[in-house]
Amino acid sequence: MAELKKERPIQLEISDLSMGFGGIQATRDVSFSVHEGEIYSIIGPNGAGKTTVFNCISGIYRPQEGSIRFQGREIVGMKPHKIAHLGIARAFQNIELFRGMTVLDNLMSARGFLLPYGLFRSALYLGKCVREEINARDAVEEVIEFLDLQLFRKTPVGGLSYGLQKRVELARAMAMNPRLLLVDEPVSGMNLEETEDMARYLLDINEEMNITVVLVEHDMGLVMDLSDRVTVLNFGIKIAEGPPREIGQNPEVIRAYLGEERIQGRS
């Protein structure tokens, strides 16, 4: 399957990405390409620069060097919301939900940019505004159903368990109707059952909805099971790339993880 996906066009192309914070070089000359419809994983020890790569793609950080092309278009220097409009959605590592809102409103607010009505229609809540709201609600309900959140629609997200909040993170990203989904450690802190559910969701998102997924995860079992290809970062430098089976046997990768024991994971 991985071979087949490689035939598809490149959707995300990262070249020579370097991002530093003062004295710390978080990533150095990182390059990789993600094909349409792939599940592509980025792994590496803590502090390796994985989240930094995501923040550069989302436009939250502006890399000092390098380029990021999405569907052929340079996105370095674009504002985060513009990048989101292109179809790049993000589920955050540390839960960054809108705490004062219900699950439903979290999802609706992520869909906001797809609703074209303006201030005056909004104040009067007539015609186009109502139609657009109903359509958005329809689409958001599909996401809610897809991720089995029906019971929590009207629950304020602050009151949900950690595992559920992680799932709402994913749901909120999905509500944006993305082409590319960036998922940062979706199963950290989850139990086995929750992890298996999450794996299912990610696979379904990828296969049924044909959405490209870039995954950052420490759970090697999950990475090995889901990924078409894997990139390994260590101290901000890419040390290996390839199909999961090869990566698991790569001596340099094993050395990077030595002492962390994480590469064994659960599989």
Binding site: P80, F92, L97, G100, E133, R137
Partner: protein, 345 residues
């Protein structure tokens, strides 16, 4: 998701959700319609003051409660509305039906400008920035020839076409219509895309941006809308009092508005209304009490003028300490209590 779900979405999105709300609202409307016939002129004037405060408080709550941007300069936007309409009708002879929206737009325009630094300033710094804006406006009003400084400025009666809004009763209905309209528009804003963008920015601005919400646009828009509400409130106030001085729009007015939205409940429409009513009512209520006890304790009279600001400050502190969600929080708890009995989940 079939079409038949849409019916329920529409219900779910309705402005007034339950029969109870509709019943209470009908009673309220009825009482307001009857109020001029039941109340004294003085009591009616308090209700007018409350109605105007409701409009201003809604505006500030959209900015501070919903978008999370603190403003200590809300009084300045009322001043801008008041003086704009006063000057337009007085000096240029513009009709009131034009000067009213223009005073809102004037305030909104300046609000947009004040909003620009909000892209850089957060929290305390934004509070200081808006405070400074308030002082600048006050300074200009004091020193500009046109506004006649602390001598004050006379403002014409409001008139719509040939009809001059002369009586207390007429002005009461007029203000109530505006207050209701302001509340409905605010409610519409917050239950639609705009309001969700505001709250998203308040709760997590970085995530909001990553969800495609342009921070700059919505932060500045919140300032504009808030200032528009303030401007309209100021204009209505000016044409009611028919005499305006810069001193009535100083920092203490801004603090009164902060007290309203904190006491009522940050980020709620109902809270803005309740807070505006109470904070406007409290000085009158105290005046009433001091009048009652004047015979036995003459020193009490005049107390209210000195202590109004202190009382508002105390209300802010006590609310934040004991009921951070304000009156709306209490309302919600009571409602939840009744809701869990017997069927509703």
């Amino acid at each position: 998701m079939g079409g038949n779900f849409k019916v329920s979405y529409r219900e779910d999105m309705a402005l007034f959700q339950t029969l109870w709300v509709k019943v209470w609202l009908s009673i309220l409307i009825l009482l307001l319609l009857l109020a001029p016939y039941l109340l004294s002129r003085y009591q009616l004037s308090i209700l007018i003051e409350m109605g105007i405060a409701v409009i201003g408080a809604l505006g500030l709550n959209l900015l501070t409660g919903y978008t999370g941007q603190i403003s200590l300069g809300h009084g300045a936007f009322l001043a801008i509305g008041a003086y704009t309409s006063g000057l337009l009708t007085g000096k240029l002879g513009l009709p009131f039906f034009l000067s009213l929206p223009l005073s809102g737009l004037m305030a909104a325009g300046l609000g947009l400008i004040v909003g620009i630094p909000s892209l850089r300033l957060k929290g305390l710094y934004l509070a200081l920035g808006t405070l400074a804006f308030g002082f600048i406006v006050e300074y200009i009003l004091f020193h500009w020839d046109l506004t006649q400084g602390d001598m004050g400025m006379a403002v014409k009666r409001a008139r719509l076409g040939d009809f001059v809004i002369k009586t207390e009763k007429a002005y009461f209905y007029f203000v109530m219509i505006f207050a209701a309209g302001a509340a409905i528009c605010a409610k519409n804003l917050v239950r639609s895309k705009i309001g969700r963008c505001f709250v998203a920015i308040r709760d997590r601005d970085i995530a909001a941006e990553a969800m495609g919400i342009p921070l700059a646009k919505y932060k500045i828009m919140a300032f504009g809308i808030s200032a528009f509400y303030g401007g309209i409130a100021g204009c209505l106030m000016a044409h009611y009092q028919r005499w305006i001085v810069p001193g009535s729009f100083d920092i203490s007015l801004s603090i009164a508005y902060i007290a309203m939205i904190i006491l009522g409940g940050l980020g709620t429409i109902l809270g803005s209304v309740l807070g505006a009513i109470l904070i406007t009512g409290i000085p009158h209520w105290i005046t009433y009490l001091t009048d009652v006890f004047k015979e036995s304790y003459p020193a009490l009279s005049g107390l209210i003028v000195d202590f109004k600001l202190g009382i508002f400050g105390l209300i802010i502190v006590l609310t934040l300490l004991f009921e951070p969600q304000g009156l709306f929080g209490i309302y919600r708890r009571v409602r939840l209590y009744w809701k869990t009995w017997p069927y509703k989940y």
